[in-house]
Structure formats: C-alpha cells, structure tokens
Amino acid sequence: MSEVVQSTGSAATRSARRTNWARGFYRFRQNPLSVVGLVIVVLLLLLALFGEYIAPYPEHLNGELNVANRFQPPSAEFWFGTNEVGQDIFSLVLAGARISLLSGIAVIVVATLIGTFIGVIAGYFGSWLDEVLMRFTDLVLTLPALILAMAIAAGLGPSIPNMILALALAWWPGFARMARGEVLSTKAELYVLAAKAQGGGNTRILTRHILPNITSPIIVKMSLDVGFAILAVASLGFIGIGVRPPTPEWGVMLSVSRSNLPHFWWTAIFPGMAIFLSVLSFNFMGDGLRDVFDPRARR
C-alpha cells in the first residue's frame, strides 16, 4: 500500500511544486526590468564560463602584444578598439567576465556562509552569545568595508583567493545582522513553539523550521550584493591590491587606462560599461527575486 501512496504522491508533489514555480515566475515577470536583469546575468555567466573561447583574439589573453596596432579606435576589426600594447579590448572584456563575476560571486558565497552562521547562532541562542557575537559584528561593520578589505588583502599578499577572502571578511556583517533579525522573528512563530512542544531539539528546529524559512531573504540579499561585490573586486583591482595586470580583469583594465584618457577613451569606457552592466543587472534580478519571495515589499 505504501508503494501506491509513494508513486501517486511523487506526481502530486511535482505538480504542486510546478504550480509554485509558475506562480513565482509570473510575479518575476511583472517587472520587465527584473527580466532584463535576469537575461543579462545569464549572458554574463555564460561569458564567465566560455568568454575566452569566443574571444576573437585569444592570443592577446596570454599576454601577446601587437605594438603596431596600439590605440586603434573601435572598428569592425577591433570592436572595442585596442589598448596601449595593441591588444583587442573586446577579447579582454569577454575574458575579464570570468574573474570579475566569479570572484564577485565567491565573495558573496563566503560572506553568506560566515554571516548566516554567526547571525543564526546569535539570534537563536540569544543572551550573552548574542551580545558577544553582535558587538563583534558591529565592530566590523563600523570599519569601511573597502578599507578593511585593503588592509586584509595587503596583509595576506596579492592573489585572487586572498582578495576574495579579504572582501568576504569585510562583507559578512551585513548577512549576520540580517540573518539574526530573520531568526528572531522566525523563532517566535507558532510552528516553532509547536515543534518544541512535541519535544523537538535545537538541531531539528534550526534545520527544519528556522533555516528553510529564512533562505528567501538571504538569497535576495545575495543577488543584490553580488553586483556590489563585483564593483568591490574591480575597485581593489583599480587601486592595485587585488588582481594584477596583465590578468584581464575589468578594474585592472580601468586602472591601466587612466593614463590613456581622455584621448583613447575606448580603453576605459568598455571595461567601465561591463562593470556598470553587471552591477545593474544583478540589482534588477535581486529586485525581481524580492517580488517573488516577498510580494508585500513590492513598491
């Protein structure tokens, strides 16, 4: 008998899930900007994975120079023009998507893990643990994130993993504060009391009741923050602490092009546009996700 229940059940579950997804997607579509954001994010992610394979001048990505062609303005041959050593900027921008996007995402994933862990522990267990963890969080929060990241990155030495770690260590307090707040309101829910009344322990209550009910706002904040993390990665590259030239990274490219302005504007404008576009698209997508998860917050 249980077999019958199982088999009819999985179909019913699937159809219930599908209607939930359909409903969610409908709300997402309500705001055209969210859809634009999502499309650009998907394109950027594809670029991050495959950008170097579709670059028209892959040899430039390995540092090959072509001094004869330096500072060519945008043309059919070089869509975004060439830089001071004659490399194709279009190829560099495509390849730069990988480092910028993936490090931006990595920063937020690490920051979310640290922040959520600390915030959930503080909010759930309360009392002195909450006090200690939140004072520490506030302390980190009062330091300007970029300056803190610069100090950490300078201390650890320049490398991409160190830069990611440095930014994540500066970034987690926002997630900790938010997770704590969400836990405080979720743990007051009647269904948590019901689980306690049945004799449920802390592990069960945290994993079955609290965490599943706080993931939506965390995912929304993650997608909003990825854009800013990409900006921060570029900023560190720009001031020369994160990624080093000649690695193609948007911030580094912007930084190098400073001395080419204003005459050779294309060396700055295209990496700049790439940063702008990714920050904006992640924000639009985040807004759309918020509409899906929390329709009440819609303006």
Binding site: S2, Q6, A195, Q198, G199, R208, P212
Partner: protein
C-alpha cells in the same frame, strides 16, 4: 482516575521596563492555581484575554517552568524528570494551537508536518520511514481528510482543513492528553462545529483527555464535562459544567454567563449536543 494534577502553580513575568527608568513591571500570569483532570474527560479553561490560560498550557506542555507549584502527569512529577524523560513525556501530552495558519510550517508538506512528532520520538516508537508514511495516511483518514493530501503544502488548504492537519499531528504519537488552545476560535462558526464534532468523535474512539482552553463559554458547554474559570491568574471557580451554568458560585462566573449571547437552539451550529 486522575491523569493530571496541577498543584499551586504560580508564574510571574517581569517586563523589561522603560528605557529611562529601567524598572520592570511584574505581571502575575498565574497565582496559586490548582485543579485535577480525570482521564477521558474534557475540562474547559475559561477566562478573558490575558488571564493566563496560554501560560498555563505552556507550563503543562513543559515549554516553561513555573516559579512554584508542580504538574503531576499520570503519577509523575514533571519537575523531577531529566531532559530526556521530559522529552518522552512530550509524546503523551500534545497540543493543538488556536491559529491553524501560524502553527504549521509553510515550508513543510503535510506528510512531513504530521510525521514530525513520530520522527522526534523515533527512539521510543522505533518506526521506519515507510511505517511513518503509512501512519500519516491513517491519521489523515482519521481526521476525515484524503490520503493524497499528504503531498500538499499548508497554504493549499482552508482553515478548517489546516486545523485537521494540526489535530492529526497531535494524534500521531497516540497521546493521552491533548491541550487545545482555542482550537476553533479562528474559524467560521460552521467550520468550528465540524472541528468540534470531530474532536468529540476522536475522544470517544481514542479515549483522550482534553484540556480545552477558550473564552467562548458556549463552546465549553458543548464539549466539556467540567470547567474552571481563571481571572487575572487566579482560579475563581472549578465546577461540573451543569452546576456552573445552573448556579455559578462566583461573581465572575455569573458575569460571564450573563454576557453569553442567547442562542436560538434551532440555528445554533452546536445543536448536535441536544440531538446526541
């Protein structure tokens, strides 16, 4: 035979007070409350809002410790038990909350919701996942829902159906005592009557004891054999239901009964009682 003895229960809350004076106020939520509950009986606990009814239920459920006094369940004083033993008792005392919307985790399927107490007490019950699923199906039938409802989520159900899910969850571990904290006050009157008659049927079938918290005397009269009245944390009357309604001893009882709306017996959803 007595299943639950509540002896001299007292509970104070200290509010955190204002920002500037810092003086917390002390609220007496329960003041020296004692009563007994007989096995298989329904006892109503009636009082206005803030009188301490929910506090009493939380202490009986072991969610809070009293400041003084004790709870004796089936011969055991709960305050003497270790955490482990207290957890085991939890399986025998269950609760259905007033609000069927807030008391079910929206992210869990009906199967997982009803299975939860069985999973928590797996060490005592020793049930496999398949056995738990079978039992969930059985419980859904018991509360007059369909078996394949178990794969749906709470938001797909009406208030009355959700309350049945809550009742099925409370019944999962075959408890002896069920605390019903205003289980029907959030429902439409006609749905209320259905849930109440379900509760009465289950009580006969499973030999349950109900602790029925309400501020609706009409519902208590319909369901319970006796009732206690609580006012500002103090027990003011403890009487069999008939004598309470015929000749209330306390002023508070007279006031509450006087305030009851007259019910046209032919139109009342609770008329089942007179037929039975």
């Amino acid at each position: 035979m007595t299943i639950l003895q509540v002896e001299n229960l007292t509970k104070h809350y200290v509010t955190s007070g204002g920002y500037f004076d810092g003086r917390g106020e002390t609220i007496v939520a329960l003041d020296d409350v004692s009563f007994d509950v007989r096995r298989g009986e329904s006892i109503g606990i009636v009082g206005e809002s803030g009188s301490g009814k929910s506090t009493l239920s939380r202490i009986i459920l072991g969610l809070e410790r009293p400041d003084s006094g004790r709870i004796v369940f089936d011969g055991t004083d709960l305050s003497t038990l270790s955490k482990r033993e207290l957890r085991a008792i939890c399986a025998r005392i269950q609760v259905v909350f007033q609000d069927p919307y807030a008391s079910l985790n929206p992210r869990m399927s009906v199967r997982d919701l009803i299975a939860e107490p069985m999973e928590i007490h797996r060490d005592i019950l020793g049930m496999s996942n398949a056995q738990i699923t079978d039992r969930v199906a059985e419980l859904l039938t018991l509360v007059r829902m369909e078996e394949d409802h178990m794969h749906r989520y709470p938001h797909e159900f009406s208030g009355g159906q959700r309350q049945r899910i809550g009742i099925a969850r409370a019944l999962a571990c075959k408890p002896q005592l069920i605390v019903l904290d205003e289980p029907t006050s959030a429902l439409d009157v006609s749905v209320q009557a259905q849930v109440l008659s379900l509760l009465i049927g289950l009580q006969d079938e499973l030999n349950l004891t109900y602790l029925f918290i309400s501020h609706d005397l009409a519902v208590v009269r319909y369901l319970c054999q006796s009732a206690i009245l609580i006012r500002k944390g103090k027990l003011v009357e403890n009487a069999p239901i008939e004598s309470l309604f015929d000749a209330p001893e306390s002023d508070y009882g007279r006031m509450l009964i006087g305030a009851m709306p007259d019910i046209d017996p032919d139109r009342s959803p609770f008329r089942l009682k007179s037929e039975a």
